[in-house]
């Protein structure tokens, strides 16, 4: 296992390695330097159940299967973090809210204004950028590389992504209407909606009436998905169940909102890596970490 550290450097360009944080050069924008100084000057902040950690942007790579320690099989979606870095810090004083702007996947051909903007941050240009609201104690300096070990195996996450576009969908696909019978005299209306209202009263069609139209391509959040496994070297997060969108889609992952405070994480992993996993802890971690089912008892035994 000590050879892990030697195998790290330069695996591929598409994978974020566990390198140290980029050295802040003198060409940084003055406001960024000020924000940097503010966040790193504090002591290492401690996690509280009211803290909100930063989320990450990942790419949906595909689906696979997973057997837990009791032999129960479950579907899993594999999400990969590609060069995920913090790009900007939003503070209460300056912007009116507290958030971190995160970018994912380096991009080569950018316009000059964009290239200059990123060069001042000393970060490579990113393809996908999003903000995550955090609490004041969870701020990170610009340029921090986020790793899959930010998530703890066994915790719950919410995953947001645009759903697959279905185009102009008929009413049977879009709203699960039953349509009309296939025979018995029905003319040319087998998949139609049928009636859209009453007669003289109210003499209108209600707003929001379910009709055919564009379906899909909207932002969808799947809540409370369990993290089954993390791969710290390939930067993979294995999540139980399905995630919206097609493969190679950019998805946003953050800690589950419906699980409050300490319930998001398994009780013996508290406190979670806060504000994100430290480099020293990351170097010590083995490559794969798998969550136990958390049930404690075998699901295949019946109570006699």
């Amino acid at each position: 296992m000590n050879s892990l550290a030697k195998l790290l450097p330069s695996i591929t360009s598409a994978v974020a390695t566990r390198s140290s944080r980029p050295i802040l050069s003198a060409c940084l924008h003055s406001s960024v330097t000020a924000r940097q100084a503010a966040s790193t000057a504090d002591q290492q902040p401690t996690w509280t159940p009211q803290s909100q950690r930063v989320g990450i942007i990942a790419r949906k790579k595909g689906m696979s299967t997973f057997w837990d320690e009791w032999g129960a099989r479950m579907p899993t979606t594999i999400l990969q973090l590609e060069d995920v870095q913090v790009l900007d810090v939003r503070t209460e004083e300056k912007h009116g809210y507290t958030a971190l702007q995160v970018g994912c996947t380096n991009k080569k051909n950018v316009t000059k204004p964009v290239a200059i903007h990123y060069s001042k941050l000393n970060v490579e240009p990113k393809q996908s950028v999003a903000e995550f609201r955090v609490t004041n104690d969870a701020l990170l300096p610009v340029g921090t590389i986020l790793n899959a070990a930010h998530f703890v195996p066994g915790q719950y996450v919410d995953v947001t992504a645009p759903s697959i576009g279905k185009g102009f969908a008929g009413v049977m696909k879009r709203w699960n209407f039953a349509g009309l019978p296939a025979s018995h005299g029905v003319s040319l209306a087998h998949r139609s909606a049928g009636s859209t209202g009453q007669r003289k009263w109210p003499s209108k069609v209600f707003k929001g009436k379910k009709m055919a139209g564009r379906m899909g391509g909207k932002s969808v959040t799947v809540q409370s998905l369990k993290v089954l496994k993390i791969d710290t070297e390939l930067n993979l997060v294995y999540v139980k169940g399905c995630v919206p969108g097609f493969d190679d889609q950019f998805v946003k992952i953050k800690d589950a909102v419906k699980k409050h405070g300490a319930k998001r994480f398994p009780s013996d992993t508290l406190p979670p890596p806060f504000p994100t996993v430290k480099d020293a802890d990351l170097q010590a971690m083995p490559r794969e970490l798998i969550a136990n089912s958390g049930e404690g008892k075998d699901p295949f035994t019946t109570k006699e």
Binding site: M1, A14, T65, W67, G71, L234, Q283, A284
Partner: protein, 176 residues
């Protein structure tokens, strides 16, 4: 279950809710396109405890052909030692990497019963080939033998005797 690296860096001890697989692979080379294939192949290597991958690969000369008779033993649960066995003719093999499955069919008290097994499931204890399907000049010229549901022919006739033979072998082994 706790584990520690030998590096000078702080050691990582896993809490009870996290398990660390004892056999960790070094990070493979992946491109943007083949990540899923590479990662699932690693899991296949990890799950391939008793050489079952070779039995169901595409090119191996000793692989199982559709029409062979297999005896599969599955654990009922991880907590107990008890197992269930099912014997039958292989009518379908679905090769999908880690999710490879195969279907066995048998006549149990004159009722046709099919059971599908996930090859790399940790609950699958052992696979024993009772009768290989043979070479090219056997009756089965298809990859999927779903026609046996309607026209079994003589496919299931030998299963009874094979089962008795297997039981006799088991008793003999127990005596020894």
């Amino acid at each position: 279950m706790s584990t520690a690296t030998e590096a000078a860096a702080p050691k990582y001890t896993a809490p009870a809710s996290i398990q660390v697989p004892t056999e960790q692979f070094p990070a493979p080379k992946v491109t943007r396109k083949n990540l899923i294939d590479v990662v699932s192949q690693e899991q296949v290597q990890r799950a391939n405890v008793d050489g079952r991958m070779e039995l169901f690969s595409r090119k191996n000369p000793n692989r199982i052909h559709p029409g062979s008779v297999l005896l599969v033993e599955t654990l009922n649960s991880k907590a107990k030692e008890s197992t269930s066995t099912f014997m039958g003719v292989v009518i379908a093999i679905r090769r999908k990497g880690l999710e490879t499955t195969f279907t066995l069919r048998n006549l149990v008290m004159k009722v046709g019963v099919e059971q599908r097994f996930a090859l790399y499931s940790p609950m699958l204890k052992s696979i024993k080939v009772l009768q290989p399907a043979g070479s090219k000049d056997t009756k089965f010229r298809r990859a999927k033998l779903f026609y046996l549901r309607d026209q079994p022919g003589k496919a299931f006739q030998s299963l009874q005797s094979l089962w008795k033979q297997e039981q006799a072998e088991k008793v003999a082994a127990k005596k020894n």
